[in-house]
């Protein structure tokens, strides 16, 4: 009997192993479905942006499937995304990437939300030679490690606010400016800082305050008091949503007058809505804005994307959703150009991507970063009590003229 019991256990074990081993063979292309894998943050501190990422992916997959799917070898395939919740935790994200690749047999990956989590997943996809198109990791360090299987549809973090410095110099009659800056101590914000350092060097501008805000800090009063005392030409702040909201709250409370205020994460933090008129005239960097005139045949243009996304999910798409949708369009293009499911062939096709989507032009450099799309700057502008983001740079897409210098608090 003991033998029997052991034997049946063994058989169950063998069956389970066999089942697991058999699964990968079917998973990458199963019948007429191509499965892409993604670990996104559905819970934890990134869950809001994780949701935008997932909705962006789903919205595009659905649209591509509805419009004929992906054509490979004369046959039409549907796209499907297999998700896991990475709990906004980087070690969990790396585990899940491993699981998607090793257990579920996924051969094509989509990125998670945030630079930190993308950095955790990239070594896994790279080691397994699985191509990943990511839409939410902008940190420069992703593109300096020589990754061959990583492709990012968004502009790198150091490009976020360089435009603002150029704009400040332009407004100063081409003369160098004095810059005060405060950046949170995390990968992304420090990359934005490096971009400002480059821009300052290029324009011979002087950095007079260079504060690095500890992650747990929610008080910028000391930095702002220094800004008040030194009167710089431009103040640059980056520290995710918390940094943006804290900065505006304290700048308005401390009546800090600066001619130009440039920030990141204005739309993620709903700055215009939460702070209203206090946020007016803040300049914000964004990857995308609905008013840009890029086009593609799946979503039309940004305005149409905005409208249809709103109808599908009940809220206006932030750029995190738009760039996620763009990642799916890149996958479709690559499959069709490779005309194969071989990961190597698809990777090579991805590397040769050169296309326009509603989100912007996409062309990768040898490090996998998209260099064909500039960042946009918008300025928070209020009409009565209603505040909205209006594009002011690049001038090609500007929907309103930049207000510079920012009126003093005593005149607002």
């Amino acid at each position: 009997m003991v033998f029997n019991k052991n034997f049946s256990c063994l058989m169950i074990g063998v069956a389970a192993v066999g089942f697991l081993a058999a699964a990968p063979a079917n998973a990458r292309v199963d019948g007429d479905t191509i499965t892409l894998g993604a670990a996104v943050s559905l819970t934890g501190k990134y869950s809001t942006n994780g949701k935008h990422t997932k909705n962006g992916y789903n919205f595009a997959a659905e649209r591509i499937n509805k419009m004929g799917g992906v054509k490979v070898g004369g046959k039409s395939y549907k796209l499907k995304v297999k998700y896991y919740d990475d709990e906004s935790n980087s070690s969990r994200a790396a585990q899940l990437a491993e699981r998607l690749i090793k257990q579920d047999g996924v051969k094509y990956m989509l990125g998670p939300y945030s630079s930190g989590l993308t950095k955790a997943i990239a070594p896994v996809t790279e080691a397994n030679k699985i191509p990943m198109v990511e839409a939410n990791g902008a940190s420069r360090s992703l593109f300096t490690k020589g990754y061959k299987y990583l492709f990012a549809v968004l502009s790198a973090a150091n490009q976020y606010l360089e435009v603002a410095i150029d704009l400040a110099v332009e407004k100063n009659g081409g003369k160098p400016v004095r810059i005060a800056m405060a950046f949170e101590q995390d990968a992304f914000s420090q990359d934005v800082r490096l971009g400002i350092l480059d821009a300052a060097k290029r324009t011979k501008s002087k950095i007079i305050i260079d504060d690095k805000l500890p992650k747990e800090l929610n008080d910028m009063a000391a930095t702002l008091a220094k800004v008040k005392a030194t009167k710089p030409d431009v103040l640059v702040v980056s520290g995710h949503s918390k940094g943006a909201l804290t900065a505006i709250r304290q700048i308005s409370e401390m009546k800090v007058n600066v001619p130009m205020l440039a920030m990141t994460h204005c739309d993620a933090s709903k700055l215009a809505k939460q702070h209203g008129k206090k946020a007016e005239y803040a300049l914000c960097a964004a990857q995308w804005h609905k008013s840009l005139s890029y086009k593609d045949k799946f979503f039309g243009n940004g305005m149409q994307y905005d409208k249809e996304f709103n109808a599908a999910f009940g809220y206006a798409p932030p750029y995190q959703a738009a760039e996620s949708s763009a990642a799916l369009l890149v996958w479709k293009g690559a499959f069709e150009r490779a005309n194969s499911f071989s990961t190597e062939k698809v990777r090579d096709a991805l590397a040769k991507t050169n296309m326009q989507t509603f989100y912007g032009n996409i062309k990768f450099n040898s490090a996998g970063a998209n260099f064909a799309k500039p960042m946009v700057l918008f300025q928070v502008r209020c009409d009565g009590g209603k505040c909205a983001n209006k594009v002011v740079a690049p001038t090609k897409w500007a929907s309103t003229k930049l207000v510079h210098p920012i009126p003093k608090w005593s005149q607002r």
Binding site: L217, K226, A229
Partner: protein, 297 residues
């Protein structure tokens, strides 16, 4: 090293005022922690989360169109019962146990509270607008946000009210008796179970008040509770248990020290400098204690 603060001496005034106002708010949270620690011998790791939860109550009122400053009345009322419930559910099981077990239990409560807040209120960073305006001093060169002023005043008023309550009321006396000697208090007819539950509730109520103040002075997010826990822990460590003026003084002292560290060493060393100070104070204490012992021998 940045010497801007010495070039522009008005910044010394600004830094000191900012430090004092910030310190008083932190001292209120630390007071709740000291109370609970002293009475129940529980270090509450979830202190920061209770504060943030109090903040979300004020934020919810703000969403409903009520001025968030009224949160200082509503949040403590709700939080008191929540604290009472938490005691009956979890804390009573660990109250007489090893300190380590209570740290683990409250750590669990902290994670659970974070996730629940994330689930209910979402992962966005939010602010409640008080529109209290700004007080300008010295020809506009020193600015004091009235919301911070309001927070500091309410913190002081709340602390005084609680001190009076502890001195005058029956429950206050029972809490103090239990803190001194729980067994003796029990023998003399104090229902220590009830005292513990009330203490935990009282601490949660204090967190409720502090949270409402944070909602109008800083930002709220389900995961920003830990810095408040650590800060209040440090204040209590420096002040010692059962030393209320000490808590207020050490709160303000730490606040001022932190602001000056920011100006002189740079923002990136601000929090590090505070920890360094803590290490020095602990080493100094140890040194003093060991000398005392030698003397006694």
């Amino acid at each position: 090293m940045d010497l801007l603060i010495f070039k522009a001496p008005i910044l010394i005034v600004q830094a000191s005022l900012d430090g004092i106002l910030l310190g008083l708010l932190f001292a209120l949270i630390a007071y709740g922690m000291a109370l609970q620690w002293g009475v129940m011998n529980i270090i509450n790791i979830a202190q920061g989360e209770l504060v943030i939860l109090g903040g979300y109550i004020a934020y919810t009122m703000y969403q409903l169109g009520i001025h968030p400053a009224f949160g200082i009345f509503v949040a403590p009322a709700i939080m008191y019962f929540l604290g009472w419930g938490l005691y009956k559910l979890v804390i009573y099981r660990v109250v007489d146990r090893d300190l380590f077990i209570s740290i683990l239990a409250t750590f669990g409560i902290s994670i659970l509270t974070q996730q629940l807040m994330n689930f209910v209120f979402g992962a966005d960073v939010v602010v409640a607008q008080s529109n209290f305006g700004t007080t300008l001093l010295f020809d506009d060169s020193v600015t004091i946000p009235n919301s911070k002023l309001f927070s500091a005043v309410i913190s002081v008023v709340a602390a005084i009210a609680i001190i009076l309550y502890m001195k005058k009321s029956k429950l206050g006396r029972a809490i103090r008796a239990t803190a001194q000697n729980a067994r003796a208090a029990k023998i003399l007819g104090v229902d220590t179970e009830k005292v513990y539950a009330a203490t935990f509730g009282l601490n949660a109520a204090i967190c409720g008040i502090a949270g409402s103040l944070i909602a109008i002075t800083f930002t709220l997010h389900p995961y920003v509770g830990l810095p408040y826990t650590i800060r209040s822990f440090m204040i209590v460590i420096i002040a010692g248990l059962g030393n209320l003026p000490g808590v207020a003084l050490s709160g303000m002292g730490l606040g001022i020290f932190e602001e000056f560290a920011d100006y002189i060493l740079g923002t990136e060393f601000r929090i590090g400098a505070v920890f360094l100070l803590l290490v020095f104070i602990l080493v100094y204490r140890r040194f003093k204690l060991s000398r005392k012992r030698e003397y006694l021998e």
